[in-house]
Subunit: 403 residues, 2 copies
């Protein structure tokens, strides 16, 4: 008996031009275009196995080992039914088995802990869509699939591509032109590395779904950002990526992170995602860049913050060692730095240090735990089709861990 099953993984992406605000909440149509860097699945990924089988009673989904209800009308249910619809269209003109009529079992897992505070909805919905596309053998392009991932979680559409990815806001009411496109593949500029600083926070911030709509409804500044700031930044940062111009890329990335948090603060009541640790990391990167620029050099790093206190620092690979030492100098670590690129040889990071000319007074030194951990990664590829040996569903079509 044939088993219809496919496994795929999908990457995390971190935006340089931020998505904040929907013009259509049901379809996840944004008020502005956005642009992100896809991170390497070797380090951070969601993996999903999907199986279609006529013997299954109903669609079921397990996330990180726990079964989740697929509620009618939920974003999850919409994505699954949209993928079935694409399969059904294909079946009309072929002799393919009618997989679209079979219930599916879906098992998904992130290789990073929820406690890391990294949004998993983008990689999760991208992996879901990628695994169903593989299961259904759809001829759909990543941009076409991004239309469906977008309905699961807006920023998920950008995880359908590797490299540097724009989410074009589109203008059609049905959202059919609000999709992801590749600005450049990872191979174009593989030197872009990322250091994620996982920041501890006592308080759960406002969810981004409710937060962004409150901004749309109450921030007078958001409209100006949407109409007059983002379009120009999208153009300029795309050009910078094509030209591998890190200075411009970094400047715009930092400015747009700050402007996103500015419109969150201009919301009524105001929304804060960054805390004193986030602010201190901004001060450190600002000073690190100042030292370089004032001695005739280039901008060496760019920070960006999503809807939480974690910093993601983009930098050319050659600067990451200095940046790790800088962060560790102010934020002592309980655990040794995991050094996937072998920057520090056998000794590891023995202690932090700052570059010559650095004004140490721009931030105070924090206690162990203020930055809980550092993850070093880089620009990565798009969703991967994985082999059977990586499948998360066992022979019965149930999660292997439960089998």
């Amino acid at each position: 008996m044939t088993v219809f099953q496919a496994t795929a993984s999908a990457p995390v992406n971190i935006a340089c031009i931020k998505y904040w605000g929907k013009r259509d909440t049901k379809l996840n149509l944004p008020t502005n275009s956005s642009l992100s860097v896809t991170l390497d699945q070797d380090h951070l990924r969601s993996t999903t196995t999907s199986r279609a089988d006529p013997s299954f009673e109903r669609d079921r989904l397990w996330l990180n080992g726990k079964e989740e209800e697929i509620k009618e009308g939920s974003r999850l249910a919409i994505c699954i039914s949209e993928m079935k619809r694409l399969r059904r269209e294909m079946e009309k003109n072929s002799n393919e088995p009618k997989l679209s009529e079979f219930p599916v079992h879906i098992c998904s897992r992130n290789n990073f802990p929820t406690a890391a505070g990294l949004a998993s909805s983008a990689s999760g919905f991208a992996a879901l869509v990628a695994s169903l596309a593989a299961l259904y053998a759809l001829p759909a392009s990543p941009s076409e699939l991004s239309l469906i991932a977008r309905q699961g979680s807006g920023s998920a559409c950008r995880s359908l591509f590797g490299g540097f990815v724009a989410w074009e806001q589109g203008s059609l009411p049905d959202g059919s032109d609000s999709l992801a496109v590749e600005i450049a593949p990872r191979e174009h500029w593989p030197d872009i590395h990322a250091l994620i600083c996982v920041v501890s926070d006592v308080k759960k911030g406002t969810s981004s779904t409710s937060g962004m709509q409150r901004t749309v409804e109450t921030s007078p500044l958001l409209q100006h950002r949407i109409k007059h700031v983002v379009p120009e930044r999208m153009r300029a940062i795309s050009q910078a990526i094509i030209a591998k111009d890190f200075d411009t890329f970094a400047r715009i990335t930092m400015q747009d992170s700050n402007q996103f948090h500015a419109v969150a603060l201009d919301t009524d009541p105001p929304i804060f995602y960054m805390n004193d640790v986030s602010r201190a990391i901004i001060a450190l990167i600002t000073e690190y860049n100042r030292v370089s620029v004032e001695s005739g050099g280039n901008i060496k790093a760019a920070y960006t913050y999503d809807a939480g206190p974690n910093a993601v620092i983009y930098a050319p690979k050659e600067n990451i060692k200095e940046i790790v030492e800088l962060i560790v100098n102010y934020f002592p670590q309980a655990e040794p730095f995991k050094d996937p690129f072998g920057l520090f040889g056998n000794t590891g990071v023995t202690e932090g240090r700052v570059v010559d000319g650095f004004n140490s007074a721009v931030a105070k030194k924090f206690e162990i735990g203020a930055v809980k951990g550092l993850i070093h990664t880089r620009v990565g590829d798009g969703p991967r089709r994985l082999g059977e040996e990586e499948a998360l569903l066992g022979s019965e079509g149930l999660p292997k861990s439960l089998a």
Copy 2:
């Protein structure tokens, strides 16, 4: 021999519509109008004694017991010479003694410690101008004097009036229409009280003088604020003050504080004045208002933050007791609350508490010292002419403390 000497005091003011950005840095001409509440000099004030004497060698000034150099072309020198100019004009058509030709000794003191983090430049320059106006017996109105105080420190112009004061931005290149006007005197709405939460901060923030110009140069959002947001807010909050409509007054005050900090954050590199303690106080006041509004009541308090982490909470007097208890509940105090209005009788604030229905999880409880102190005051009057017994200069024309 006649002694030509006068002493005056002037109040602190805290803006509800914030001044941030100059269109002329020499003349201190702002990019937008602003509006403030004058606080009561019974609690916070600058006091200044000025004396003119032909035997003095040169103009001299002592601030808080320490002599300060009056540098040529400095804001201080400009204010003194502008006041002498007004005196000289008066002398032309009268037989008054030629005081404008005598050097002056000026002694000034704030009754609040610099460590409290309250800007003293507004009350300081207002007291300087008020004492020289008294010394010179000038017939100038507070609005006319505000033109000179403005050149010392922009927001000082608003301290020439009591009550509720607008600083009209004006449009003339020479600044002659950029002055303070009274929206309503304190007697119109004496019920507006203020609780200042003095917040500890490890790091000195960007000075407002350099910060605001960086915002003018780099923030794309500031221009929208200036052109489209502030004019409407000025109109609406003035109307709210006339109508004693605390709900509208409070909403606009909080929105404008947040928008000022939003444009600071939209600056490159970004400027932060609020810290985690400031954020927690915002969360507390937001929740305190939510409980009231959702049970059919009114907004009970409004927070506002200047270029630093201190919160100023405006509220009708009847709510201050609850607000003190709320703040003390999350920010235990080392020193007993100074209770100038006798809200707590003989027992004082024994311990903090929150109102019924308050979600205590909106903030964590902080350590002693996070909020270093609480100052309870209220809307106050404009500059006061004081008697000889309060003069700061002794018989030799030197500071009494040095005599």
